[in-house]
């Protein structure tokens, strides 16, 4: 499980990628990837291309990110979901809170 983050060239966007199992063990790394930054992005992207598995603690982490990003005013995109990950996000109806592609 690895968490990587990258700021966009214009400094307005932050992309966080999670490789492997997105579960409770990712908690600290995921949080640090957006908290410990001296940038203040307008929008966030969570790239799940390499994510093999997602559980309810990952959903919780996404909610924490959304809250950090401004709650209801946040712009958080979740991209590159494989079918299993997609299914979990769909059952929880997270597309009501996140932009899922």
């Amino acid at each position: 499980m690895t968490v990587r983050s990258e700021v966009s060239p214009d400094g307005r966007g932050l992309t966080i990628s999670v490789e492997g199992r997105f579960d409770f063990s990712a908690h600290r790394d995921f949080r640090e990837s957006y908290e410990r930054r001296n940038v203040d992005p307008d929008h966030y992207t969570v790239d799940l291309r390499e994510t093999t598995y997602l559980d309810s603690s990952a959903l919780g982490m996404l909610l924490l990110l959304r809250d950090h990003a401004g709650g209801d005013a946040a712009e958080v995109k979740i991209v590159n979901c494989n079918p299993d990950v997609r299914k979990i996000l769909t059952i929880s109806n997270f597309e009501q809170l996140f932009d899922i592609c």
Binding site: S56, S57, G60, M61, D72, I91, S92, N93, L97
Partner: protein, 567 residues
């Protein structure tokens, strides 16, 4: 300088004994002398030395024997044994250590070496004592913790499990991973006799997951018997959980309102895996998906309490489960999964219950693998209202024969129509009267059906034509929510009158609304359609039901005994 210790010196040679004693005493320790192995054991029991110096070869129980014996007597404490030896062969020295010796001291005795060894052994002793004390403290703490958890669990069970889970309607399996269950299963009857069932799965498991279940259960068991609608209950639960749970924690849940009278199941689903509806007449199961976010995620303003309604005949069933069921792994690491479940449900003969089959398959699938999550599985079967054991009324016939005579007028204008539910309040007032309490189910049903009629068809002008299919229900309720939100004129007025004497009594419920009226006598009462089931039901339950005006004025009368007075 090591703290003074009691040192036992056993050597059959007087000169050696004297020499060693002198050295040890010089280090500030107290010496106990023994002349052979037997003497050493006797002195060991009597004086409890902290370190033992043993000559390896002694008559009358040699050093090896004595060492073994001493070690067996000190299983819980640590008494170091040092062999005194002029043995030089490695094999012989190893034998000393095998016999339980912790070190050996060669002749000629070197005071410096002996001092170093005594210090080292004293440190080992201290370490051992510290570890033993910590171990005991941990063990005691653990025992206390288990006791506390046990007590907490008993309180928890009493709050969370007061409901009606064991009825002929519900079959369930709850298998928590640990002492506290992160899954919740609640069931209760509302005053009309409907059954509300709540299945929930809190994030995580164990105590920190289950603690949210306590306020949730309180709300559920508090509001349901008062007559609140399922939407009110689920909205309140969401509000409470949003309030107390930290961000990132939530409760995936499905709540259903089963009406045996009307043969309907109303569903609110947020975050749990699909539920399945399978009918006695057809083999293929229908998936009921979750439309909402889990509870505790969004604020009350954004919360969507809209539901879907399904029509069920007696014998039709709904199966709900938490994700622990689908994610159950077999020894090979494969999950049980939705495919397997759907195959099983499709393979059932029509009308057969799935519950036992699913349970058996889960057991078989899991095999020797361990569980990783709480498991909850619930099957609800639709019955005829008559077959469902009635909720036990509050038996307090003591004052039943006391005469009473009162009336009440309660009018709601748009702000109240939008935001408050008059039914629990009125139900509460009415059931204060002992004679009425025994009929609370009937009263509630009459009140709620007539009120719904007055509000929806009367004040808001909704037509029940849309309620002809499952999809139609949700469109209807969406429209209802829109209209209610926009309401700025109109009223609903309740006029209640209740009288009784020693022989009997009557309750009159009159509801007047500001609407344009409706065709109360039209084709809306056909039994084969979804809509309009409320009015015929009231007609069955009440002793009389009369519509006046242009249909916006209705009076239902319930009598008992000889029925006091006039109409």
């Amino acid at each position: 300088m090591t703290n003074a210790m009691r040192v036992l010196i056993a050597d059959d040679n007087e000169g050696d004994r004297m020499l060693l004693s002198a050295i040890v005493r010089r280090e500030g320790h107290q010496v106990i002398s023994a002349v052979d192995g037997a003497d050493a054991l006797a002195k060991f029991d009597a004086d409890a030395p902290q370190i033992v110096l043993l000559d390896a070869l002694m008559p009358n129980v040699d050093g090896f024997e004595a060492a073994r014996e001493i070690k067996s007597r000190t299983r819980d404490s640590f008494v170091p044994i040092v062999f005194l030896t002029s043995l030089t062969e490695a094999g012989e020295l190893a034998r000393c250590l095998d016999a339980g010796g912790d070190d050996f001291l060669s002749k000629p005795y070197n005071p410096i070496i002996l001092r170093a060894k005594l210090a080292a052994l004293a440190r080992m002793r201290h370490l051992h004592t510290t570890l033993a004390a910590q171990r005991d403290e941990i063990a005691m703490y653990n025992t206390r913790l288990m006791r506390e958890q046990d007590a907490a669990k008993r309180i928890f069970d009493r709050i969370a499990h007061q409901g009606c889970l064991s009825t002929n309607v519900i079959n369930y399996l709850m298998s928590p991973l640990a002492l506290f269950n992160g899954d919740v299963l609640l069931a209760a009857r509302n005053p009309a006799g409907n059954m509300y069932i709540f299945v929930g799965d809190f994030t995580g498991h164990g105590l920190q997951a289950s603690i949210g279940a306590m306020p949730l259960a309180e709300i559920f068991y508090g509001m349901t018997p008062k007559g609140f609608g399922m939407c009110d209950v689920v909205r309140e639960i969401n509000r409470k959980l949003k309030d107390i749970l930290p961000i990132g924690y939530f409760c995936c849940a499905t709540m259903i309102d089963v009406s045996f009278h009307k043969g309907t199941v109303e569903v609110w689903a947020g975050g749990l895996p699909d539920a399945y509806l399978y009918r006695a007449q057809t083999a293929k199961p229908t998936r009921i998906g979750s439309r909402h976010l889990p509870l505790g995620v969004v604020s009350t303003e954004r919360f969507d309490a809209s539901t879907d309604v399904y029509y069920l005949a007696p014998g039709d069933r709904i199966l709900m489960c938490t994700d622990g069921v689908l994610e159950l792994r077999n020894p090979g690491g494969e999950m049980y999964g939705t495919d397997r479940l759907e195959v099983l449900l499709s393979s059932l003969p029509p009308g057969a219950p799935a519950f036992e089959r699913v349970k058996a398959e889960l057991d078989q699938h899991m095999g020797s693998a361990g569980r990783e999550d709480d498991i909850t599985l619930v099957e609800v079967t639709m019955h005829d209202a008559a077959d469902v054991l009635a909720p036990t009324p509050d038996i307090d016939q003591g004052n039943a024969q006391v005469a009473h005579d009162w009336s009440l007028v309660y009018e709601l204008k748009p702000d109240s129509l939008k935001h408050s539910n008059p039914l629990p309040i009125l139900q509460n007032v009415l059931t204060e009267v002992p004679a009425l309490r025994a009929r609370s189910a009937t009263i509630f049903t009459v009140l709620s059906e007539l009120y719904a009629n007055a509000l929806e068809h009367g004040v808001m002008g909704l037509s029940s034509d849309t309620k002809t299919s499952a999809n139609g229900f949700s469109r209807y309720y969406r429209r209802r929510a829109e209209l209610l939100d926009a309401l700025d004129a109109g009223f609903v007025r309740f006029e209640l009158r209740s009288r009784s004497d020693a022989d009997g009594g009557r309750l009159e419920i009159r509801i007047i609304d500001s609407g344009a009226g409706f065709d109360a006598h039209g084709a809306a009462y056909s039994e084969s359609t979804y809509h309009g089931r409320g009015i015929p039901l009231v007609r069955d339950l009440a002793d009389s039901l009369v519509f006046r005006g242009n249909g916006n004025d209705v009076k239902a009368v319930l009598c008992w005994g000889k029925g006091a007075g006039d109409g």
